[in-house]
Amino acid sequence: MGLLFDLLMPLMLAGIALYGMVRRVDVYDAVIHGAGDGLGVLYRIVPPLIALLTAVSMLRASGFLELCAQALAPVLDALGIPPETVALMLVRPVSGSAALGVGADILSTYGPDSTVGRTAAVMMGSTETTFYTIAVYFGAAQIKKTRYAIPAALCADLVGFLAAAFAVRLFF
């Protein structure tokens, strides 16, 4: 299992590159082009991350994040969710860059290979910025009555968080 995980990245890289070659894609050009787009993504996330990582670092230093974790620990422990991820779960549906800031803080505080770090990473990878998406989509469609879209979407987020903790326990 361990070796398979280690090789997952190079295997995917090789597989996708070969598939591209077979389909007569200029693979090198595509990689360079995509990597350039990646710089654009970074350019857009640096400013919000500067603002938000400052705020999150201050919250971490003040002891507030630990207090929240302690307060909610009985409930979260019973659900199998590491209480240290509480701040991430609170901001994830609201703001993508805030979640990135909180996630980065969790990974550097607890380590990327700890159970807390892995759970936080899986939570980020398996959920979206729910409220932002709903606002943009319904805004574009000029919908006033959103009916049950918000509760149903939040239900997906909640199950995503629970499943992230469960999946990390299952695989690691």
Binding site: L59, G63, G117, Y137, V159
Partner: protein, 192 residues
């Protein structure tokens, strides 16, 4: 404006809490280092993020998106029965879903907005069951390769940042199933 409230709130809470717990000096130090940490983090994320954005571009150009959207068609017809016969809607929806799967965010969002506009024409102002289902599907993450998270882990010193993939796939699947089930159940309970 919502973000302003969140940001100012975070800083005020940190200050108050730091003063109450006697960690004012630590909060002051964090206020100075946080911004530099953010820039450092972005730099250490940059390599792996850009590389995998490049890999996704290969997936996009090799026609994987079209193949995926053809594969997804039967499933999507069942999810959006009101539009199963509407070619324009089904084309846009399946292109949106396959762009989401491949993590092509720049392509997925405009397609998604177009699809929701087309769906809303049937019932202006009120979200139909199909439109609710579509939005719920877009608020769940179905990205096959979560590049941003992987590069965040690699920036934190992880040697195998992609080892969370199977766990992420499982969690994503359960999350979207829950969203679809919730939408189906609530559709029966909610008045139009």
């Amino acid at each position: 404006m919502a973000m302003s409230g969140l940001w100012v709130g975070m800083i005020l809470v940190a200050l108050l809490c730091g003063l109450c717990t006697g960690r004012g000096d630590a909060v002051a130090a964090a206020a100075v280092t946080g911004a530099a940490d953010a820039v450092e983090l972005c730099l250490s994320m940059a390599g792996i993020l850009c590389l995998w954005m490049g890999v996704m571009e290969v997936m996009g150009r090799s026609g994987l998106s079209e193949k995926l959207s053809r594969l997804l068609r039967p499933l999507l017809r069942r999810l959006f029965p009101d539009f199963a016969e509407d070619q324009a809607v089904m084309n846009t929806v399946s292109a949106n879903v396959s762009a989401n799967l491949l993590g092509l965010g720049n392509a997925a969002t405009p397609l998604g907005l177009e699809a929701s506009r087309l769906m809303a024409r049937k019932s202006p102002g009120v979200a139909s069951d199909s439109l609710c289902m579509f939005v719920v599907c877009n608020t769940a993450s179905i990205q096959l390769i979560p590049t941003t998270v992987a590069s965040l882990r690699s920036a934190a010193g992880c040697a195998t940042p992609f080892d969370i993939l199977p766990a992420t796939w499982l969690a994503s699947t359960l999350s979207i199933l829950a969203g679809v089930a919730a939408a189906k159940i609530l559709a029966r309970l909610w008045p139009r």
